[in-house]
C-alpha cells in the first residue's frame, strides 16, 4: 500500500469510529448495539493502522490471500448482524401488536364506561 492510501484509509476508519462514538453520545444508539459497533470500529482502526497484522493472522490460519480472510470474516459478521436485526424487528412487531390490541380494548372499555355514565342520570330521573 502506498503512503497516501494508508493515510486515507486510516483517516476513514478513525472517522467511522468517531461517528459511532458521536451517535452514542447523542443517545441515538442503545447500549446493546453500542458494544458491537465500538468493537467493529476499533478492529477497523487496528487493522488499518497495522496491515501487517492481517497478513500474519492469515498465514497462521493458512489463508493464502489475506483479503479473503477479511471478506470471510466481514460476510460472517454481516450475516450475524442482519439476523439479529430481523430478530429485533420481529420482536418489535410483536410488541406493536400487543400495544394496538391494548389500545383497542381500552377504547371499548372507555366507550362502555361513557355509555353507562350517560345512562346513570336518566335512571335517577325515572326513579
Amino acid at each position: 500500500m502506498t503512503d497516501n492510501n494508508y493515510v486515507i484509509a486510516l483517516i476513514g476508519s478513525v472517522l467511522i469510529l468517531a461517528g459511532i462514538i458521536e451517535l452514542l453520545r447523542r443517545r441515538q444508539l442503545k447500549e446493546k448495539y453500542a458494544v458491537l459497533w465500538l468493537l467493529v470500529g476499533l478492529v477497523l482502526v487496528v487493522f488499518t493502522a497495522f496491515p501487517a497484522l492481517l497478513e500474519r493472522i492469515s498465514t497462521a490460519l493458512g489463508v493464502a490471500v489475506p483479503t479473503n480472510l477479511l471478506f470471510f470474516v466481514a460476510i460472517l459478521f454481516l450475516v450475524g448482524v442482519v439476523l439479529h436485526l430481523s430478530w429485533e424487528a420481529s420482536r418489535l412487531e410483536n410488541e406493536t401488536r400487543k400495544l394496538a390490541e391494548d389500545v383497542a380494548i381500552l377504547r371499548l372499555e372507555l366507550a362502555e364506561f361513557k355509555r353507562e355514565q350517560d345512562r346513570a342520570p336518566e335512571l335517577e330521573q325515572n326513579d
Binding site: 462514538i21 453500542a34 410488541e95
Partner: protein, 253 residues
C-alpha cells in the same frame, strides 16, 4: 398528616416483573409500615398473578403491556407521580430486599437533597454480602459517582431511592431504561441537572424469592457491563434543563 417535614405527598413505587411470590407480602408490609403513603406497583409486562395479587394487597397498579425493564417501569411510576401531583417517589423493590420501615428516613433527607439513596455497606451488621468482581465493580462505581456528586456514596447501585424536588419531573422525562441505567446513569443525569444527591444508611435483607447471582463468570460480565454503563453515562449528552422546566406538575389531582 404530612409524612415528613419536607415532603407533602410522597408515593411509593414498586417495579415488579413476575413477582407473584413476593409482591403481595411486600405491599402489605409497606402499607403496615407507612399506612399514609399510597403504593403504586408497576407491573413490567408480568405474565403471572403479580397484578392481581398487588391489587388484592391494596396497591394501585400500572400494567405495562410490554416489558420495558426496571428503568422503564420506574419512569412510568415517575410520570404517574408527576401527573397526579405527588412531590416525591420512593422506589421499593418487590422482592423484599428493601425494608419499608426505612422509607421515612429517606424522605426526611429530601429537604436537603433531590435524590436520596438507601445504601448498604454503611455498617457491618449487614445480611447482604457481595464478593468478587461484582464487589469491585460496585466499589469503582461508588468511587466515581462519589466524586461526581461531591458526596460519599457507598452503594451507587442501590435501587432503594427517594426522588423529590426538581429530580422528579427530570426523571419522569429522562429516566434511562438500559442495563444499570436506572442506578448509575440516573445519578449522572441528576448531577448534570444540578440536583443534590445524598445517601442514608439502609440495611438490605436477603431476597424472599430468587437469589443474587455470585457465579464468577456472571460477576465478571457484570463488571464489564458496569464499566460500559458508566463510560456511556459520562460521555452522553443530556438536555436536562428545559425538560425539567417543561414537566412541572399540573396541579393537585
Amino acid at each position: 398528616m404530612p409524612v415528613s417535614a419536607s415532603v407533602l405527598r410522597p408515593l411509593i413505587v414498586v417495579p415488579a416483573w413476575n413477582e407473584e411470590q413476593t409482591v403481595g407480602e411486600t405491599v402489605r408490609e409497606i402499607r403496615t409500615a407507612t399506612p399514609e403513603i399510597p403504593v403504586l406497583v408497576v407491573s413490567d409486562g408480568s405474565t403471572d398473578l403479580t397484578v392481581h395479587l398487588a391489587r388484592l394487597a391494596g396497591a394501585r397498579v400500572l400494567e405495562l403491556p410490554i416489558r420495558l425493564g426496571v428503568g422503564g417501569a420506574m419512569r412510568a411510576g415517575f410520570r404517574y407521580a408527576v401527573h397526579n401531583g405527588f412531590d416525591a417517589a420512593v422506589q421499593v423493590d418487590a422482592d423484599g430486599q428493601h425494608d419499608p420501615r426505612q422509607v421515612p428516613a429517606l424522605l426526611d433527607e429530601l429537604g436537603d437533597a433531590e435524590v436520596v439513596i438507601g445504601a448498604r455497606f454503611c455498617d457491618r451488621g449487614d445480611a447482604y454480602r457481595v464478593r468478587g468482581p461484582r464487589r469491585w465493580a460496585m466499589v469503582v462505581l461508588s468511587k466515581v459517582l462519589s466524586w461526581l456528586t461531591k458526596t460519599r456514596l457507598t452503594d451507587a447501585t442501590s435501587g432503594f431511592k427517594a426522588t423529590g424536588g426538581q429530580a422528579l419531573p427530570l426523571f419522569a422525562e429522562h429516566y434511562p431504561d438500559e442495563y444499570l441505567g436506572d442506578t448509575v446513569e440516573s445519578l449522572v443525569i441528576a448531577v448534570r441537572a444540578g440536583c443534590v444527591v445524598t445517601q442514608v444508611p439502609a440495611r438490605m435483607r436477603p431476597r424472599r424469592g430468587g437469589d443474587p447471582s455470585h457465579r464468577p463468570l456472571k460477576s465478571l460480565l457484570y463488571l464489564c457491563r458496569a464499566g460500559l454503563a458508566l463510560a456511556l453515562a459520562l460521555i452522553r449528552q443530556w438536555d436536562v434543563t428545559p425538560a425539567a422546566q417543561k414537566m412541572r406538575p399540573v396541579g393537585e389531582a
